[in-house]
């Protein structure tokens, strides 16, 4: 396993309707337990309630966390004013399945055009949840339509949609696949075999999803140690630094 692991997708805060601890302490505890050095994270408030309020909370708490947490801001196309709250973000996130809006969606097209023209946002990695069949294909169409040119990470890709995600990534070399949804036998190795380890990044969805399970999947994947290192650390570092982000 890599000496330093970076997790490209985590959350903090309660998941409604259940009670839960506000703040980043539960996330920091689970990262520490597994020896994960750093994580990109966002507030569940931004996901389930108000993107603007959640983004402000994310940036504030990540600033206080001493470097272990990097802020991701939620882009909710139903709330276009959210673009005013992304200054300081290291990654932008679109979560259509969780927020229950369609991927082929005129407000999303408008928002991606605005992001592409924003000096604060145009080259940030863009995380897009593509857990539903067809979302990856629609994503490719949106990227062509809007001219968004930064790196794109397809997150929450589940096994039955992996073929679609691979087809999208093969056609566009700035598209990455995250490991958070890949839980089946051979799925990480299949992604690496299809698009190369340089475009697969580690992500967990912790602490709601088990970070230990996500790490175990990468450890168990039948790939080379150098590929494992790239997935767990090198690719995320490259994406977050903004240097040579596309493979």
């Amino acid at each position: 396993m890599a000496d330093v692991v970076l997790d490209m997708f985590t959350l903090f805060g309660p998941v409604p309707p259940r009670p839960g601890e506000h703040g980043v302490e539960p996330l920091l505890a689970v990262l520490q337990k597994h020896g994960v050095a750093g994580a990109v994270t966002l507030s569940t408030r931004g996901l389930y309630y108000s993107a603007s309020a959640g983004n402000r909370e994310t940036i504030h708490l990540c600033t206080q966390a001493g470097g272990a947490l990097l802020p991701a801001c939620v882009l909710d196309p139903r709330q276009p004013q959210v673009l005013q709250t992304i200054t300081g973000a290291k990654m932008l996130c679109l979560l259509p399945a969780t927020q229950k809006w369609p991927m082929l969606y005129a407000p999303l097209t408008d928002m991606l055009r605005a992001v592409a023209q924003s000096p604060d946002a145009a080259n940030l990695p863009l995380w897009i949840e593509v857990s539903r069949p067809g979302d990856g294909t629609a994503l490719a169409a949106e990227l062509r339509e809007t001219g968004y040119s930064g790196p794109v990470i397809m997150g929450s890709v589940i096994g039955e949609n992996l073929i679609e995600a691979i087809a999208v990534a093969r056609a566009d070399n700035r598209v990455f696949i995250a490991t958070d949804g890949l839980r089946g036998i051979g799925e990480i190795a299949a992604a690496v075999g299809a698009i190369g380890a340089s475009r697969v990044v580690f992500a967990s969805g912790a602490p709601v999803q088990a970070l230990g399970a996500a790490l175990a999947m990468v450890a168990a994947a039948e790939i080379s140690d150098s590929d494992r290192e790239a997935i767990l650390n090198g690719n995320a570092r490259r994406l977050l630094s903004g240097r040579n982000a596309t493979a």
Partner: protein
């Protein structure tokens, strides 16, 4: 911790896109051995999705012919569907007396994806119960768990496993299972460590909780990683990982009771006690803990 004793009570058998060799028993054994799993119970993906009888025949032949490789024992489930009731009654007679076939399994209808109801399966389960083996029901969501509960109520003498814990609806699903003494659950489904502790709490202990992965759709490594993250005591961990399954599936040397009706029905093949199969060994004493919370590591570092 493992010593190859973990028992994965529910996996699929058949090719999938990312694991095209999952149809080969030696490949399953290789993967399971690498994860510390000593016994795996498989059912045919062909039987679940397309041809119940042909898939069952293939899995039955495969597990009867299997020899342990890497110390991994492969046992089988016979899938049931009311659309093939007559054929399946005959198939149960031919297969289920064999000790390598651990029981029968119900899956959602392959065309509608709806869980089977007690009315759908009453006739089949009346034929099945004479074998005194467990019934596994896949419960991908709370609706499937509700149907499973109705079956557990009507067939109260049948030992059952609700597999999948209701998926993402694990909390709602677990709230239904507490009052049914014949119902066990496995921990496949959502990879959320919180659900394990919740299940132990709501079921008043870990005695009816089993380890399963649902491979090849979920890698057992991920489920082991989730279990590790739940931070259980050694006693709870060993119960979930193998001790409960040893008892339920009679892998601990305890033979199932043969009833008068079963004797009359008669096996058509000589039965071998499960404890004489392959590498299945009597359980070792569970290490004592001083604080009841000693934790073991079978997570990523153990792989």
């Amino acid at each position: 911790m493992s010593d190859g004793r973990f028992i994965d009570v529910h996996c699929g058998w058949g090719s999938v896109a990312a694991a095209p060799n999952w149809k080969d028993i030696p490949e399953i054994q290789r993967v399971m051995a690498k994860r510390g799993i000593g016994t795996v119970c498989i059912s045919s993906l062909l039987a679940r999705k397309y041809d119940t009888v042909e898939g069952n025949r293939a899995v039955s032949d495969a597990v009867k012919a299997e020899t342990p490789i890497g110390g991994v024992n492969v046992l089988g489930w016979i899938a049931l569907h009311p659309g093939r009731a007559n054929d399946l009654s005959e198939q149960m007679k031919r297969s289920l007396y064999h000790p390598r076939l651990v029981g029968a399994a119900l899956y959602p209808d392959p065309l509608t994806n709806q869980p089977l109801s007690v009315a759908d399966v009453r006739e089949l389960l009346n034929a099945f119960r004479r074998f005194t083996k467990p019934l596994l029901i896949e419960t991908r969501d709370a609706r499937a768990m509700a149907q499973c509960i109705r079956i557990a109520e009507e067939f109260a003498n049948l030992k059952m496993i609700a597999s999948g814990m209701g998926g993402e609806e694990w909390r709602e699903s677990l709230s239904m299972v507490t009052r049914h003494p014949n119902l066990n659950i496995d921990i496949s489904g959502a990879l959320i460590p919180e659900k394990i502790n919740y299940a132990i709490d709501i079921m008043h202990g870990s005695r009816k909780i089993l380890f399963a992965s649902g491979a090849p759709h979920t890698d057992p490594a991920a489920v082991l990683g989730m279990l590790n993250e739940a931070g259980l005591s050694t006693d709870d961990s060993t119960r979930i990982l193998y001790r409960n399954a040893e008892k339920l599936l009679h892998l601990d040397g305890g033979a199932p009771e043969i009833t008068a009706s079963q004797q009359a029905f008669g096996p058509d093949e000589p039965a071998t006690p499960n404890y004489l199969i392959g590498n299945v060994t009597p359980p070792a004493p569970v290490p004592e803990t001083t604080d009841g919370k000693r934790k073991d590591s079978w997570g990523p570092s153990a792989l």
